[in-house]
Amino acid sequence: MALPHAPASAPLAPTDEGEGGVRIQLSDLRRTFPGGLTVLEGLELEVAAGSFVALLGPSGCGKSTLLRLVAGLDRPDGGTLTFSPPLERTRGERAPIAYVFQDAHLLPWRSVLDNAALPLELAGVPGPERRAAARAVLEQVGLGDATARYPAELSGGMRMRVSLARALVTRPRLLLLDEPFAALDELSRSRLDEQLRALWRELGMTVLFVTHSIAEATWLAERVVVLSRRPARVVLDRTLELPRERVATLRTEAAFARESRLLHEALERGEAL
């Protein structure tokens, strides 16, 4: 499915509000699951406010675990996690963090529109306003004609796009994405990549983006962090030497290939550890 009516670089959400991002600092972070599996240990990472960081790493290394810790959905067993400015999470207000899970996790009893509007609903935004916002963002992920359907009637890729729309609808200050585009075809994917980057440029939120695609990481992020196999350590932390303006043709340029190769090697190093 394409986004035939949206220009390739159109931002994913309206632009009236840009609160800026947050700075995240992880220090000596440890997470051991009951049963004794240590997934993160001594992890150090600093993410500058408003930066776009991609996370790469082998399957099962702890990327989702890390994202859950940052989102506050799980508690570290050691170490600290600080945000500045601190994220006050007052209930009933627009949540400052949004999260696209690895699986879509939609509410099966809600239509696509009502699924996408959920975060605004929980923040107390009135019905017409939140529905309009949800409709707009669904339009932009290419689901403008599926707003009335139910999750069971969608394809896998469509479900993930609803999940993405749900995350973007709040215009968050910290956006956590766990392989959001893995179930999409390459064209939709690169189009959403472009829109995501445009949105980020505009709103300036902090983005943590887990992906398995080296090309996607290279194209999207300012900075890529490559993790080793479990327990995850940082193998490579690289600010990419690429122009700030990303265009579609960048993918064929030599600088792009060079960065990709570096990431590839780091991944291999991380797996061999």
């Binding site: 506050g72 959905l73 509410l107 099966p108 009893w109 959920l118 609903e121 923040a123």
Partner: protein, 264 residues
């Protein structure tokens, strides 16, 4: 499609006819005396003869059962919500709600009558007591079965407790809840009847419970069964209403309500 749905609507009727014929046949073949187990035709005759009092009694009992059922549904869901709010609370109190299920109504009849007065109110309370637990138990399981990832989602978006309840937990618990209500529908009727045994009164409009007792005493087994079947009829009405509501609510999203069923 329409023939299939017609067949589905007719299925219970067809089954009824078959069941009744079997019953009639067996009773006749074994020459079981009417006072022990009457044939459906004998029951029908008795019911026709006593149509008026039966109907009145069914209405009286039905009203009480309906009130009891409504109370169970409301209080049961509420109690389940309270219990589900903490594992500790559930551990501490859930087992004791079972008391309602194990107490013979006759044992607490004096209290019922004292607190609610004799007649319809005490009967409705009896119906409520008997039918409450399944609603609590099923709703609680439902509330507890919410996918953890969806809970995370609501937590992330700072959902208030009440919003999580209304928009996540209760919808997710609906399939369980409807099963609880289905069970409660039958129990509400028997609860009303048993309540009438001990707190119902025959002045004015006596319920089916009184009719059952006095027909039993007189060995009017045909009338007894007519009354019992009238009670089942009430139960079926409630059950049907619950099932219909369940099917409508869950239709588009829950496998248990899909018309497909088992493909093999």
């Amino acid at each position: 499609m329409s023939t299939a749905s017609a067949r589905q609507a007719l299925a219970p009727l067809a089954a009824l006819v078959i069941l009744l014929s079997l019953w009639e046949g067996i009773v006749r073949a074994l020459a079981i005396p009417t006072w022990l187990l009457p044939t459906p035709s004998a029951i029908a005759t008795a019911a026709a003869r006593e149509a008026r009092p039966l109907l009145d009694a069914a209405l009286t009992t039905g009203r009480s059962a309906l009130v009891g059922f409504a109370l169970s549904a409301g209080v049961g869901v509420f109690a389940a919500v309270v219990l589900s709010s903490s594992r500790l609370l559930e551990r501490a109190l859930y087992p004791y709600t079972l008391f309602l299920q194990t107490v013979p109504i006759v044992a607490i009849a004096p209290l019922l009558v004292l607190w609610f007065g004799p007649g319809a109110r005490a009967v409705a309370v009896s119906s409520f007591i008997v039918s409450l637990f399944p609603v609590i138990a099923n709703t609680l399981t439902g509330l507890r079965s919410v996918e953890p990832a969806l809970r995370d989602l609501f937590r992330l978006y700072g959902a208030r407790r009440l919003a999580t309840l209304w928009k996540l937990e209760l919808p997710a618990a609906l399939p369980h809840l409807f099963t609880g209500l289905r069970i409660a529908s039958g129990l509400a009727v028997i609860g009303a009847i048993v309540g009438e045994f001990v707190a119902g009164f025959s002045e004015g409009s006596a319920g089916l419970g009184i009719l059952v007792l006095s027909a039993y005493r007189q060995l009017r087994t045909d009338l007894l069964f007519a009354a019992v079947l009238a009670a089942s009829g009430l139960g079926l009405l409630l059950f049907g209403a619950v099932s219909l509501a369940g099917a409508r609510t869950l239709r588009r999203w829950h496998p248990s309500a899909s018309s497909g069923g088992n493909p093999t």
